[in-house]
Symmetry: C2
Subunit: 163 residues, 2 copies
DNA sequence: GTCGTTGCAAAACATTTGCAGGCCT
DNA sequence: AGGCCTGCAAATGTTTTGCAACGAC
């Protein structure tokens, strides 16, 4: 656990240097919180996790903003549209999110650049980037519920769109 | 303008029937507000637009939630992560968003199902769906600013992640 | 020493809820 | 008539801000 930490810590340290920002305990702790979460965190969740370390919520908000800008964090949604943030481990990877257990696996872009090129051709846009999330069931959950929810688009308990 | 409206109104009417929900003026007005916006609306923006018609904000929240569930609305982000909602005109289409003027053009899935299949193979997930947004500059804005922002990922004015 | 960063608490903003009455079907 | 929908206003929850002190460089 401690040896793996070194790696991710170095990742953060390098990004901070590149941005000429400063290394602080709080920054590190926020990053760690996201790293240690398999399924991503909403900001309030992250706040809860680091409050014990004496870190204020404003600091979490400020740091999440920066980590996003540095590309160390990426956002994902559950199908309800709820915003979660997750440590971006693979450069240019895309999250595959299990709708049941919320596990996330990263996959490469694959042929997506082809889609970009095609979109560019069709629309005349100069394509600068994209955001792709894939939803489904992880192998384990898939086994548990062969076809759990009849209507993935119409959950029983209508959830909030949250801005 | 009035003749085109018929089409979209019918779209809404059909969806409402299919869901056994009720046709109301408020529901229609909210839908219209999103239809008439090229670049999508945040909920507070939508509230502002229909307030003049005597529609309360709670109603807007409630209806956006339902339109989302019906698949009539789709969410998009600006690169900062801000949540906007936009009328989904093309079934299974994906928004191509101009980062400058915020114009949105819809494109088809293209080969994306191939990406889904590949992701399924690599991760073992049972893939149920995806969410793709493509960012770039529309032809017009592209001409205006051949390379406007040097760092699309690092805007000068750090914006809020908003949950 | 400088200035980016921080925690705190309050302000600002966004979203949900309870309820009585209205209006689709 | 029945019950989904609505507007209102208050309750809740989320995000930002101001500021003095702290700590990294």
């Amino acid at each position: 656990m401690t040896s793996a930490e070194t790696d991710d810590t170095a990742f953060l340290r390098a990004a901070i240097r590149a941005e000429r920002k400063r290394w602080t305990e709080a920054r590190h702790a926020v990053w760690e919180a996201f790293l240690q979460s398999q399924e991503g965190l909403t900001i309030p969740e992250a706040v809860k996790r680091v409050k014990a370390l004496g870190i204020g919520q404003a600091t979490v908000y400020r740091n999440v903003r920066e980590l996003l800008q540095m590309g160390l964090l990426q956002w994902v949604h559950d199908p309800n549209g709820d915003h979660r943030f997750i440590a971006a481990r693979m450069p240019h990877g895309h999250p595959v999110v299990c709708q049941r257990c919320k596990r996330v696996i990263w996959v490469d872009c694959h042929g997506l650049s082809a889609v970009e090129r095609l979109a560019a051709l069709e629309t005349g846009f100069t394509v600068k980037g994209h955001h792709l999330e894939i939803f489904g069931l992880c192998p384990n959950c898939s086994r548990l519920s062969p076809d759990g929810e009849p209507h993935p688009g119409k959950p029983k308990s209508p959830r909030k769109p949250r801005r």
